[in-house]
């Protein structure tokens, strides 16, 4: 901006509210996948494991475990995988933790930038498409093993419902109607949700279902962390409703988790 003189004359692009386009122009080295991925990329960078999203009566719930793994080792016990994208949407990351966190940050800035420049929010559809384009930009790195596959969920103000989207590594975008999970424990979480999901679940019920699914993923998948009772770490759960993006307090997640634990120990010690 210092060599500004001509920066705001002419301004053929002054109506472009995209932060990603701006970054590509002003600071291309900060773009995802900007430096060519080395052919011998580390084979086991830290990976985030299981994130999921469930639609319920008031909107969507998003949950994730807190563990990142590098090969057979725990890389982090407290990683956060569900991020607030803006007031009405969230992004859950799975895959290579570094590029995924960076992508979540870029996505947040993209939405905020649009909102400030245009004076209004992108539609939920628009946000989902924008994320899909960002995942496609990461394709070269994904081919080297640095795969990023998020879940995107939000509250659609126009339709008055929660909606969720899953992605593949090419940026393919697929809307799911009821629930979805992503990451190494995703299959178990999805199976669990298949049995637990009901139409118009209340908040408590949806919270329980989300945590049961994380519980099952952690039970079956070595990469997924459940609750760490020694350190007092519990899966994170976020709610996105008409009134915004909110975190479920850790105490509440702990209570639900302990209830699940107690029920399972009593009723089905083998499962």
């Amino acid at each position: 901006m210092m060599d500004a003189g001509d920066r705001w004359r002419g301004f053929s692009d002054s109506s472009n509210p995209s932060f990603v386009d701006l970054l590509r122009r002003e600071a291309p080295h900060l773009m995802p996948g900007a430096s060519p991925a080395p052919t011998d990329a580390p084979r086991e960078p830290p990976h985030g494991t299981t994130v999921l999203s469930v639609r319920y009566r008031d909107g969507v719930i998003m949950a994730g475990d807190r563990q990142a793994t590098a090969g057979f080792q725990v890389a982090s016990r407290r990683i956060e995988k569900i991020f607030k994208a803006d007031e009405l949407s969230g992004i859950g990351i799975a895959g290579a933790a570094g590029p995924a966190t960076e992508m979540a940050r870029l996505f947040q800035t993209e939405l905020e930038h649009y909102e400030k420049v245009e004076g209004e929010n992108l539609s939920l559809e628009g946000k989902a498409n924008r994320l899909s384009q960002m995942i496609r930009m990461n394709l070269p790195a994904a081919m080297q093993g640095l795969v990023v596959v998020p879940i995107f969920a939000g509250y659609d103000e126009k339709a008055g419902v929660g909606r969720l989207f899953k992605y593949d590594i090419t940026g393919g975008r697929y809307e799911e109607t009821n629930y979805d999970a992503q990451g190494s424990g995703a299959n178990y979480a999805r199976d669990s949700l298949k049995k637990l999901w009901k139409r118009d679940m209340a908040r408590e019920e949806a919270l329980r279902a989300a945590l049961e699914a994380i519980f099952d993923a952690a039970d079956e998948d070595v990469g997924t962390g459940g609750a760490d009772l020694v350190r007092g770490i519990f899966p994170t759960v976020k709610l996105i409703t008409r009134s915004g993006f909110a975190e479920v307090p850790e105490d509440e997640a702990r209570r639900v988790w302990e209830a699940i634990l107690a029920d399972r120990a009593r009723n089905s010690p083998g499962a």
Partner: protein, 230 residues
């Protein structure tokens, strides 16, 4: 080849400044006041769609008077500056001071190099964290002159009268309703009319909010706030 007319640099600058001042004087005014929980910005602006006040970043707001297309360009440039900086460093590293300096450079360059100067004044405000640091208000003029203001600031057509009025009536630590009432009275100090909620654009940088402190106050809430202050 005919020789170009000689115009002395003094004369040229004077003409440009006069031209810019005239343009600005035609526009309606904006006042900014520090109040108990942050910074209040009040503009006389009957349009609900074309804003004079807007959000730049977490703790930073922007206001402009004069020609809309010119300060709108600066506003967008400011958002770009802030977002790129916040993304490449961290959100805490985006400051009003750097932004105000950049505006000052840009306006200064335009004033000296272009035939037509920008007919605008802009204001950059940054609300302090609640750790005892101070609010910052920068006022940048059409020629790049930059001033930092305390407690209150005014710009636009009747800025001098408004400033005089605020000097006599401003008190520190006003609650929001009273600060708003004062701001509205200041805006009408040179006019015989009263301003209704519909003629106003009001926003605050509210220290008590989390992360993004900027908040517009909608017309309905304005009525209530002004009612309690009366």
């Amino acid at each position: 080849m005919p020789l170009p007319y000689y115009v002395s640099p003094e004369q040229m600058m004077k003409d440009k400044a006069e031209y810019a001042r005239k343009g600005i004087a035609r526009g309606r005014s904006i006042v900014t006041l520090e109040y108990a929980d942050g910074i209040l910005l009040v503009a006389e602006n009957p349009s609900t769609l074309l804003h004079k006040i807007s959000e730049i970043y977490d703790r930073i707001a922007f206001a402009g008077v004069g020609k809309y297309n010119e300060f709108e360009n600066l506003r967008i440039a400011g958002i770009r500056h802030a977002d790129v900086k916040g993304y490449s460093y961290s959100r805490g590293d985006v400051t009003a001071k750097a932004l105000a300096n950049a505006y000052s450079q840009a306006l200064g360059n335009i004033f000296t190099q272009d035939i037509k100067p920008f007919e605008i004044e802009v204001l950059v405000a940054e609300v302090a964290e609640s750790n005892g640091s101070k609010n910052e208000i920068y006022h940048i003029l059409y020629d790049g002159t930059i001033e930092d203001e305390h407690n209150y600031a005014a710009m636009g057509g009747q800025a001098d009268e408004i400033r005089r009025f605020l000097k006599d009536h401003y008190r520190e630590g006003l609650p929001l309703g009273e600060a708003l009432g004062l701001g509205v009275r200041a805006l009408t100090v040179t006019q015989n009319k009263t301003l209704s909620e519909r003629d106003l654009e009001v926003a605050v940088l509210d220290r008590t909010k989390v992360q993004r402190k900027f908040r517009r106050i909608p017309v309905e809430a304005l009525g209530q706030l002004l009612g309690t202050a009366r």
